[in-house]
Structure formats: C-alpha cells, structure tokens
Amino acid sequence: MLELNGIKKRFGRIEVLHGVDLRVHAGEVHALLGENGAGKSTLMKILTGILQPSEGTIRIDGAERHFADYDEAIAAGVGIVFQEFSLIPYLDAVENMFLGRELRGRFGLLDRRAMRARAREIMRQLAVDVPLDVPVARLSVAEQQFVEIAKALSLNARILVLDEPTATLTPSEVEHLFAVMRELRRQDVAIIFISHHLEEIFEICDRITVLRDGQFVGSCAVSEVDNDRVVEMMVGRRIESSFPPKPGVDPAAPVVLEAEEVQLRRGGPVSRFELRSGEILGFAGLVGSGRTETVLALLGAYPAARCKVRMDGVEKRFSGPDEGLAHGIGLLPESRKDEGLITSFSILQNVSLNNYGKYRRNHWFIDLRKELDCTTAAMAAVRVKAQGPHARVDTLSGGNQQKVVIARWLNHDMRVLIFDEPTRGIDVGAKAEIYALMRAFTARGHSIITVSSELPEVIGLSDRVCVFRQGGIVATVEGADINSETIMTHATTGRVEHVA
C-alpha cells in the first residue's frame, strides 16, 4: 500500500538519510525502530510532506506521489500523531478535531450539531468513550491521543503514523491504545508505530523496519526476530576512537555527591546513585526517561516529589542553581540556545555571567581589565575559536558556543559539573575536544555527571553508567558491562519499581 524507495535527505552538504526503504501494507502495524538520531523522525517528516526528500520516491497504492506540504499529505490519506500533541488545550475535543475546517450551517455560523455527530461517529469507530465537551487539557494523556487519532481519521487517513505514542502513558492506558490500534488494523488502516519499548513491538506489531545512522538496516516480520536480535540491529557495531582513555577510578575514591532518594513524581520510581571523586558518571536512557529531570532536581530546578542529597556526607537541599553554584556544582543545560547562553551577550559577558565575585573592584564594580584577562584565559583554556572575547555568541558555531558554556564553569573552582547532552549538534572534531576537556577536569579529582542520548558517547566516556527508564534508574553498570547491548536492554526492558 505504502512504498518509500531509496529515500535520501541532505541538509546542506550533510546527508542524514542514505537511501531508506519502507513498505507498509494495509491492515498492518509496522514498527519503525532505531536509536535517537537514527533518522526515524526525518523519514516521517518526509512521508507527511513536512520535509521533501532529496532523492527517492513515495508511492501510495502504486502511484507515485509528491507532497509539497503537510496538507497535501493529509489529502492523500496520511495522518500523523506527533509526540508533542498539536491540540489547543482550551478547546474541547470536537472543536479540536474540526479546527480550521469547521462545518458551517446557515448564515456561516458553526454547525456544532453536525460536528458533534461526526465526532461521536468516529469515536464509536475507534471504540473509545472520550468526553467531547470538556477542554482537552482536562483529558488524560491517553484520551488526548485518541482525540489526535480521531482527528486524523476524520480526515480519512488510511496511513497513520504514531510517533512514540506510549512514551507518556500508564500501562493500562497503553493497553487501551493497543485495543484502538487493533481495531484500526481490522479496518485496514496501515499504522506506522514508533516506540523505544521493545516489549510493545512484540505485543502489537506485525513487521519491523530498523534504521541506524540514517541507513536502512533491515525489514522483517516480528516473528522472525527476538529482543537481542532487534537490539543488535539497532546499535550495530561501531568503533569510536575519539574518546580519551579512561584512567580508571579508584574504588576507594571518596563519594562527593550522593543522591539517597530522588523521586520525580509522587508514586514514581525512586532512584539513588553516588558520584565519586574523579569519575565521569553517565546517565543513559531514552528521551523522556527522566535523566534531565533528575539532574535538575538535584539542583532544585525541577520540582521533584522527593530529593535527598548528601554532599561530602552532609545532607543538603538546594533551592535552585544559585545554591548549587555556591556549593561547587554547575550545570550545562540540554539546550545551549534556550537554557545555556544569553545569545544577545558577548562571549565575555556570557563567561563572567555568574562569576562577578572574581573581579570586583571597591566591592560594587566590575574590574573590566581583570574580567577581560580572565575571559581571555578561559577562552584559551577551552580553545574557543572566535574573533575575540567581545564577539557575540550567536555568531559562533555550535561547538564554540558549547565551549563558551564550559568556559563559564571552568572560570569557577567547581567540583561537580553536570553536562546535559554535551555534544548535541556539534561536529566530530569539536566533540573530541570537549571529551578531552571533560577528562582533564576529572583528572584534577573533580567529578562529572553526563546525560547523553548518544549511546557511543555514554559508553566511550563514562566510568560507570546509570540506565534510566520511565522516570528512574533501573540499573547501574560498570567495567565490561558498559556496552550498547546491555545498556539498550536495560533502557528498553528494565524493571521499574513504582513506590507509593
């Protein structure tokens, strides 16, 4: 029914999809699998007309199609439910379903009755009972998802893409969603299902297609593979040599930071971990598994249900990053542009942002000369390539921007640094430099927690790895156990203990 052949996609000179095939039949649930960054989302954006392929063809029922935009894909019967919903929270389900194409009655007024009837009919077709006249913000996440699916079906979608629909659902809601998917399968809808939870693949899917680094790895029936085989297809075997050698951490090294209990949500899993002097502790897991929230909770920047932290054995409770700073813990946030840098500031102003204590004059004033000297030294230490300390940071490349954030923290005497996605969107050369900087920091007896969605990075960098799943740590591995198969298995099937 749906055939994607040899899809290639280039952004500028960088090719992100290297000829991907995907075949989906009517009445089939087809899993699209791959690590973060494997190209799943890009492929789905091409299928739904949001992006155009650089090469390759899309055929529906044998006829070649070109979608200039999302609307044309919808007209051809393709529907997608994004991971981030596109519902308007204050409107009810009916209003959301007919947004922008409201049915009109006499005098051009809204024909609410006709829209309601049509909505109810679709909900019946899905065999779900969703309240139609309360704002969707008051519906559960699962019900909102059903509204999204109903919206796609009201547009006569025959090919439905569900992008990680189960990531935020409870187990019983997942069952409900699967019932809906089975009903749609019975009605000959083709479903492309993206999920990182492998047990779900075996429960609901008929066929799988695996991508890795933008390459087509393979496609087969679910009955032909098992868990290990799927993980192997997803992670492959790659050799990364850009990582500095791990010097090995003395098991007797003192514990600097100890999280006794971190519970993100009431009723969710409770995590504990310790960070030793001189080590890099990796936080691995899928997107949305609670890694970033956990590190933010340590600093009091995320409202966790419980967070008990000891530093050097003394119990501490940080009310915000400013107190973390005072105790020598610094954070390099996930998104440089939105959370890390003041983009309208110069390098100098960004580096000294939280450290004016270092160059004060007469208590109140900034010693501009000293500030310049310190910044120049900090820039040289991390090798920022820029015209000078007064260059605006939004003129820099991603790698240099990240180095500016690193320089900001190295300008202090910090003991613990938390790197959230340290090399996202950075080229290979700059990555290696940042890894070296991280190792140089721990070599002085300091410690690093690094959160990363890139498995090779976690593996190549960390002395120990905590694996997250569904809001908590499911396993901590070290030594030879730090390999992609073990981590991926924990991240996709690890047991989560929910605590009241």
Partner: protein, 325 residues
C-alpha cells in the same frame, strides 16, 4: 560614549568613527532627536535659545526620572504601570506629613521616598515570587496607589508647604535648573549601575534569557525584585521634583505619565521584550518627547491635535527602528 554599549561591546576601543556611531544602538534615537530639533528650530525662532532648551529639559525632568526606573524594569522584560500613581501618592503623602502632621519637611521627603521604594518592593515581590505577570500586578497597584492618594487627600491638593521645597522644582544652580541637575545625576548613577556592576549585567541577562541566567546560578528573583524597587525609588524622586514645581501634593498628578515613560524608553531604542537597550537612549527618548511637546506648543497647535501627532511620531519611530539589533 562607545564603551557603554553593553549589547555591542565589539565597538569598544575603536574610538569615534562615523561608521561605529551608525552601528551604535543610540544612532537611531539620536538621528530622531536631531531631525525633530531641526524641524522645531525651523518652525520657531525661539526654539534654539538657551532659555528654551533649559526650559524643555526642566519640563522633561519628571518623566525623564520616571523613565530611568522604567528602563531597568523593561530591560528585564517586565513593565511598571504604577509609576505615575506612585509618584502622585508619594507627593500627596509627603505634603500631608508636612502640613497635616507637622513632620519636619526633610523627614517627610525622606519618608515619602522610602514609601515609594517600599511600593516598588511590593510590585517586585508579587512579580518575582508571586509569579504574576508584571502588567497585571502593576495595573492593580497603580489603581490602589491612585485610590489611596485620593482617599487621604479627599481629592484636593495639599498646599502650604515650606517655601524652600520649590527649590527642587524651579530652583537654579547658576543658570541650570535644579531638576535638570537631579535628572542628570540620576542618569549618571543608573549608567554606572547598568554598565559597571554585576547587578547591571544580570538585569540585561534576565531580559536576554531568564532561563539561562537562572540555570547558571544568577539569583534572578532578587534581581527582579530590585528593578521594581528601583522603579519605585525613581518614581518618588520624580515626586520630589513635581512637588517642588507645584508647591503642593497633588493626588491627581501624573495621570498617564507611565505611558510617557514607556514611550521614552522605547523611543530610546530599548527592546520592549528586554535584554537590549541603553540608559542614554532613554534620556534621548525623554528629551525627544519633551521637544515635541514644547515645539507643538510654541507653534500654537491645538492640544488635542498634539496628542494625535505625538502618537503618530512614536509609531513612526518604532516602525523605523523595529528590526534594530
């Protein structure tokens, strides 16, 4: 002047060249000031006389001082609508303390200034810790301040102040009016605070990216509290000038001055979303507004029409400067 450009510090140390002056964020406000001055000079022979220029500056001083606090607030991405009402309340209560209670006048002035500061702290606490939008918080406190002043005074001006109070409004040192000197001093202090202290950098940082500032350890709430406190302080300093000029506490004074102050800040090139702008720009913006008022008066234009013309010029100025970086 080139080294005060926090938003474009790469110009530092290059000295004055026409090109660097054009790239400065002050360029557009300055050009506007020159153009409007020349037009007014053509229309009226008196415009460029020393007396008239000093007169314009004296008239500008009240809104000019209000606009200093407003610049701090807007640089963080906030807004303070209460400044006009706070100024009136401070003036009324100070006058009341002198006349009705018999407090020594200097003490009454200091108490008034402390009151303005306290009202600013309330605004700041509600915005920073109460997590409420600044426009709503200050709209509410604007109404409350105005109402309290009217209740206290019964709606009538409070007069009978010691005669030396008028020194703040119409006195002169040499040829220069006292309020102009006060305004200049307040701008100088504000410039130093914004450009030469860590607090000033944090004000810009919060307007540029509050999340990044907070995650890097800046005490963002304290800074927010402080900018509203500064706005309350400058509102009460403006009240001192106004009381001296009117020789009475006027509960109805300063209606709409908050909008003039915002217009001065924006005409001076400060981004309404915060993060970018210069205190000297605000001074230019305030003077620009004052010249418009003065020139239109000298030309004898119908006062109702003056408002229309001013509104049009503000729109035009902001349209020209809209994509300024």
């Amino acid at each position: 002047m080139s080294h005060d450009t926090v938003t474009a510090p790469e110009e530092k140390g290059r000295g004055f060249s026409p090109a660097s002056l054009l790239r400065s964020p002050l360029a557009l406000p300055l050009i506007g000031l020159i153009v409007v001055s020349c037009l007014m000079g053509l229309a009226s022979d008196n415009f460029f006389s020393l007396n008239n220029i000093l007169n314009v500056l004296r008239q500008v001083s009240v809104v000019g001082v209000l606009a200093v606090g407003m610049t701090f607030v807007i640089l963080t991405g906030g807004i303070d609508l209460s400044v006009g009402a706070v100024m009136a309340l401070v003036g009324t209560l100070s006058a009341g303390m002198m006349v009705n209670i018999g407090l020594p006048a200097p003490l009454a002035l200091v108490a008034g200034i402390a009151l303005g500061l306290a009202l600013g702290v309330v605004n700041g606490a509600l915005v920073a810790w109460g997590r409420m939008p600044a426009i709503i918080v200050t709209l509410a406190t604007m109404g409350m301040a105005r109402g309290l002043g009217l209740i206290y005074s019964g709606g009538y001006p409070i007069s009978g102040l010691p005669s030396w109070i008028s020194w703040f409004g119409i006195g002169r040192i040499g040829v220069i009016p006292v309020p102009v000197i006060m305004m200049a001093l307040i701008y100088a202090v504000a410039w130093v605070v914004l450009q030469r202290t860590a607090f000033g950098r944090h004000v810009y940082a919060i307007g540029g990216n509050e999340t990044a500032a907070r995650l890097s350890g800046v005490k963002t709430r304290r800074v927010q509290l402080a900018v509203y406190a500064i706005s309350g302080l400058t509102a009460s300093l403006a009240a001192v000038i106004l009381t001296g000029r009117l020789m009475s506490g006027q509960p109805n004074a300063g209606v709409g001055f908050e909008l003039d102050a915002i217009a001065a800040v924006v005409l001076g090139g400060t981004a309404i979303a915060g993060g970018r702008g210069l205190i000297l720009g605000t001074l230019i913006g305030a003077v620009l507004l004052g010249i418009l008022n003065n020139g239109l008066n000298l030309m004898g234009i119908n006062p109702y029409l003056q408002d229309v013309i001013k509104g049009f010029i503000i729109l035009l100025a902001i349209y020209i400067g809209r994509d300024w970086r």
